[in-house]
């Protein structure tokens, strides 16, 4: 029994998983400390609300609101879990986008821009084609592919300038992000037809894709329930009251596809070879420039697919006045990929974890005086820790040689108070 445990613990994959779990726990602990500090020093918050905030940070996904007396209540919340799966869909895909680029040695911080271009094209196709011209599923497919294509083309730009002009891809990505943000605003501002005028209370929103372009009395208008939306496949019965749909299944399928592409095909091998050593790859006869562009194109297409799946759900609206902000979903692809150590299958789980944090943030805003930005702090701490994940991994294996019992005790440190204590120990050593 002991021997078997040892071989499992010594495997590299196990160490990676442990390092990621440790990062997560440290991140949650730092978030809790911040909540505690603010609670202590703020006049109107106090210690009891800080304790509520900390419990929500760790178990927010299981929160069911407040009881009549005002205490937090806990239990299985199908709405939260369904929404978690729904929000995980784009995160898994932007995470895949960042991880594919990482494997080729590129840092794709341009996912927000690719996501925006994907959004624009998807919405333009889904809302632009009249409902009577084609059946719904065909429009859905066209819009989905269009979003992927747009994201891919937008991703090509940093890839091209990196490969042929040797511009740092990080800077090129940032610039294309802001250009995309302006382009998208320009597009929806100039075309006007997509702006939601049915629900007059909201300004600067585009129609949901559930609205279809329909000819009523000789004029084109948008009618609810006539458009395209992703099939639910009974998931809405499983998680009543949530926005979940088949998009999450498609995202998982794509993740498996990316895994096969990266590990089982020649193209994947070439991409990884370029990432390991561009010059050695060229010496071995691999066209490094082509592969850099291709890698960014695939990354962009994945981010675009994420946008398409999110907005084709039929019940999400797009705020098009985006020229001053970039979508957080794009940036959160970075921690998703880093936490999963760029493993496409791992991305499925870390994507779900990130969207869980997202839900936790909403619960915090709704139920306490704290706000959702605390989850962004937690995410940034996790990214910071993953910058030296190699060191954490080394520490983990060094500790295991000394005290195998203690290391085994660390394994169930997923969340919960037991994990909290051991993580603080690990934090000191890191």
């Amino acid at each position: 029994m002991k021997n078997q445990g040892k071989t499992l613990l010594q495997r590299d994959g196990t160490k990676t998983v442990l390092a990621s779990l440790l990062s997560i726990v440290i991140g949650l602990v730092v978030g809790s400390l911040l909540v505690l500090l603010v609670g202590l020093f703020s006049d109107n918050l106090g210690l009891s609300s800080a304790w509520e905030g900390i419990r929500l940070i760790f178990f927010g996904i299981l929160s069911t609101g407040r009881s009549a007396v005002g205490n937090l209540t806990w239990g299985f919340n199908p709405q939260s879990i369904g929404n978690m799966l729904f929000r995980a869909t784009p995160l898994i895909l932007t995470g895949l986008s960042v991880s594919v680029a990482f494997k080729t040695g590129l840092f794709n911080i341009g996912a927000p821009g690719q996501y925006l271009m994907g959004t624009m094209t998807t919405l333009a196709i889904a809302l632009g084609i009249p409902s009577s011209a084609l059946p719904g599923p065909v429009i859905w497919l066209l819009a989905f592919l269009g979003g992927m294509l747009a994201g891919g083309l937008w991703g090509c730009i940093p890839g091209l300038v990196k490969a042929f002009l040797n511009i740092n891809e990080v800077l090129a990505c940032i610039m294309t992000n802001w250009i995309a943000a302006n382009l998208v605003t320009w597009f929806f501002d100039a075309t006007k037809v997509f702006q939601n005028t049915v629900e007059n209370t909201k300004s600067s929103y585009v129609y949901k894709t559930a609205y279809g372009r329909t000819l009523v009395d000789g004029t084109w208008t948008y009618v609810d329930g006539n458009g395209v939306q992703t099939a639910k496949l009974g998931l809405d019965k499983l998680f009543p009251g949530s926005q979940v749909n088949a998009g999450i299944l498609i995202a998982i399928l794509i993740a498996v596809g990316v895994y096969i592409l990266m590990t089982k095909t020649t193209l994947g091998y070439q991409l990884k070879a370029c990432g390991a050593n561009r010059h050695a790859a060229r010496y071995a006869g691999i066209n490094d420039k082509r592969n850099i562009v291709l890698s960014m194109a695939i990354a962009g297409a994945l981010a675009g697919a994420g946008a398409a799946l999110y907005y084709l759900s039929g019940n999400t609206e797009f705020y098009w006045h985006t020229y001053q902000t970039l979508p957080a979903t794009g940036f959160n692809g970075i921690p998703v990929a880093l936490l999963a150590a760029n493993n496409p299958i791992g991305v499925i789980f870390t994507g779900c974890f990130m969207s869980m944090l997202n839900i936790v943030g909403l619960q915090l805003t709704n139920l306490t005086a704290y706000n959702e930005y605390i989850t962004d702090v937690i995410i940034s701490v996790i990214v910071y820790l993953s910058a030296f994940s190699l060191l954490i991994k080394m520490l983990l294996s060094a500790r295991k040689k000394d005290k195998p019992e203690q290391a085994a005790a660390d394994t169930p440190a997923e969340d919960g108070p037991a994990g909290e204590a051991s993580a603080e120990k690990g934090g000191e050593q890191a």
């Binding site: 911040l34 603010v38 703020s42 918050l45 840092f107 911080i109 300038v161 002009l165 040797n166 511009i167 740092n168 990080v170 800077l171 090129a172 940032i174 610039m175 294309t176 992000n177 802001w178 250009i179 302006n182 382009l183 605003t185 320009w186 501002d189 100039a190 020229y323 001053q324 902000t325 940036f331 970075i334 921690p335 880093l338 005086a369 704290y370 706000n371 930005y373 605390i374 962004d376 702090v377 995410i379 940034s380 701490v381 990214v383 910071y384 993953s386 910058a387 030296f388 060191l391």
Partner: protein, 344 residues
């Protein structure tokens, strides 16, 4: 024309000082991608300082008596606070990249994510909204603006072109930044410390063999970088955002990185590049009210070009300029590579 020069300067000066921040970090061998995050943090600290100061008796008396010397002193103190906290924040980056030999790009990205999150979290709790301004909603930027009345000159007196441009309606912070830029450029090129710092970014192994402590030098470079980026962030918030902090500087830190690369890591070129980018940023921000030849006609606003084009311009130009200059650019040789004594 006066308006154009003043506005350009307002954008160019933070760019210039933050680009110099990038130079100090990269010349010592650390890629400081976190400039944007440090700017956001510095802006928050500076604005918070002004907000807290507003409640003190010292400020109250000075404001009532129109004692502009004290007010300017307080402005400098706010800059100092922003610089110090910027340096503290940048320690996170130097600790990760010097002591832990972490990936500097990811470390910088982490700080870029952390700064807006932390700042917005605190702003929401302090002000219960997403913007931190003054407690009573007054316009703090106007307290610090140097006008004709500051010197006791009548408002209608014409000071001539130079006087109108450089004395009326300006901020002391702008000139302090320019002075700081000159002093630090001299420090980087004409002193022993500067030479040592630069050697750590080119060949740290050789520097170490001559008895220079590479770790210390890299800490120094990144910390100076943090001070400058913090100050730059506050100056940006003060002069272009009415002294309000929103957890956002609209990609200014990244533009500064582009300015640094365009300026080939050399202060004089950076000053020129910052002016060019400042001009485009100025056009993007106020194309509707720029009156170049003073005949009351706003050429740019009347031109048949969408306003979106002007807003996109700074980023588009950056990409194009980088495309033309990156082949010739020469980055410090050892930047981004963690220094490992064992590899000597």
């Amino acid at each position: 024309m006066t308006f154009l020069i003043q506005q350009t300067l307002l954008y160019a000066v933070p760019l210039m000082i933050v680009a110099l921040a990038g130079v100090f970090a990269e010349r010592s061998g650390i890629i400081n991608l976190a400039l944007e995050g440090i700017m956001i943090f510095g802006a928050f600290i500076g604005v918070l300082f002004v907000r807290l100061m507003q409640g003190t008796a010292l400020f109250h008396d000075a404001f009532a008596a129109k004692d502009w010397l004290t007010l300017q002193g307080l402005e400098l103190l706010a800059m100092l606070a922003a610089g110090v906290m910027g340096a503290v924040f940048s320690l996170l980056l130097s600790f990760a990249s010097v002591n832990l030999k972490a990936d500097q790009t990811i470390g910088g990205t982490a700080l870029n994510l952390m700064a807006p999150a932390l700042v917005l979290f605190l702003i929401r709790i302090i002000a219960n909204q997403n913007t931190l301004g003054m407690a009573d909603g007054s316009d703090a930027a106007s307290w610090f603006m140097i006008k004709k009345s500051t010197f006791g000159i009548d408002r209608k007196t014409d000071l001539g072109f130079l006087g109108e441009t450089f004395i009326n309606r300006v901020y002391l912070a702008t000139y302090v930044c320019i002075l700081l830029f000159i002093v630090l450029s001299v420090l980087l090129y004409k002193t022993r410390f500067g030479l040592r710092l630069r050697s750590c970014g080119e060949n740290p192994q050789a520097a170490d063999s001559l008895g220079i402590n590479v770790y210390k030098m890299r800490y120094a470079g990144t910390t100076i970088s943090g001070v400058l980026a913090g100050i730059g962030g506050f100056v940006y918030a003060l002069t272009t955002a009415n002294c309000a902090s929103t957890g956002d500087v609209a990609g200014f830190g990244f533009l500064a990185l582009a300015v640094m690369i365009f300026g080939n890591w050399k202060p004089l070129n950076i000053a020129g590049a910052a002016l060019l980018f400042g001009l485009f940023k100025c056009i993007a921000a106020s194309y509707a009210s720029i009156d170049i030849n003073g005949d009351g006609v706003c050429l740019l606003a009347n031109a048949p070009i969408s306003s979106h084009v002007y807003r996109m311009l700074p980023y588009l130009i950056t990409l194009v300029v980088l495309a033309f200059t990156s082949k010739k650019s020469r980055a410090p040789k050892a930047e981004g590579i963690p220094y490992d004594r064992g590899q000597r």
